[in-house]
Amino acid sequence: MNADMNSPEDQKWQSLLRLGASTFAGETEPPYGLISQTLARLRAQERQQEDLERIGWRALLASFAALVIAATVTLSVAFQDQGGDFEPGVRSVLQMDNIQVS
């Protein structure tokens, strides 16, 4: 307790604390069921985390696959376009008449 507390109010406060001291004491043994409940919550938390990780990995793989597909489509279209700078209609006429464009 604080030694500098000499006012009547301070002493009254200290007396109140002394009177209620037993209610502040902690318990030494956990109450029945606390350990099993805590372990069950820990297990549930761990499962939830694993599920979230799994979902996260799946989402990542799905986005990667989508990215690969998009890249493939883009590249194949780009390769097809390498025939020249003509409009598709003009290009088909050129191809039909077998006209060589240098």
């Binding site: 109010e9 009254k12 209610t23 502040f24 004491a25 030494t28 956990p30 805590t38 820990l42």
Partner: protein
């Protein structure tokens, strides 16, 4: 306390999935957590619920424990922070008046001068409820600080280690809150 239990071994076993190790750790940490929760939280709050919340936090943050101090110190800090968070969520009550006291609390307040003998259980509970009511009008930090100093008799250094506050901050808080407390008790005396 840490000498009795092989905490490092327990932690290793728990990380390897051994639940018996978790049980041992909970049994070891429970008295420390229970003491902090009982001291810093009002009597009527759900103690078991909060103890469990602290235990959950302890296990989910175990990877942050470096082992440079006893685990009980680390858990004490975590428990106190959780109690302060809970107190912050509660509304700070306006200053207590004499008319707010129950007849039992009023009797205990009047008899507080004559506290040479140990009170009976109901007297202790009334005194505790009165202490809770008086402290409810302080900020959570001030409330906890007063209890650490006046009830637990902790040194400023110990408080600093538990709370992470600097010594000067603690002194400043005490300097500010002590007159507030005196004034509240004085007003309760006046309104008899």
């Amino acid at each position: 306390m840490d000498d009795i239990l092989d905490v490092d071994g327990c932690l290793r076993r728990w990380k390897d999935g051994d639940e018996a190790a978790a049980e041992e750790l909970i049994g070891h940490l429970y008295p420390v957590i229970s003491k902090i929760v009982r001291t810093h939280l009002p009597r009527r709050d759900d103690e078991k619920d909060l103890v469990q919340e602290i235990l959950m936090k302890t296990f989910s943050k175990l990877h942050q424990y470096k082992g440079d101090a006893p685990i009980t110190h680390w858990v004490s800090r975590l428990a106190l922070t959780t109690c302060l968070d809970r107190l912050r969520a509660q509304k700070i009550r306006p200053e207590i008046r004499r008319s707010d006291l129950t007849p039992e609390e009023s009797d205990v307040f009047d008899a507080a001068w004559l506290s040479g003998s140990s009170p009976d259980a109901s007297g202790a509970i009334a005194a505790r409820d009165l202490v809770d009511k008086i402290l409810a009008s302080l900020s959570p930090e001030d409330r906890s600080l007063i209890l650490m100093v006046d009830l637990e008799g902790r040194s400023l250094q110990e408080i600093s280690e538990t709370t992470g506050w600097t010594i000067s901050k603690i002194k400043m808080r005490l300097f500010r809150v002590r007159p507030q407390l005196r004034q509240m008790i004085h007003k309760l005396e006046e309104r008899k």
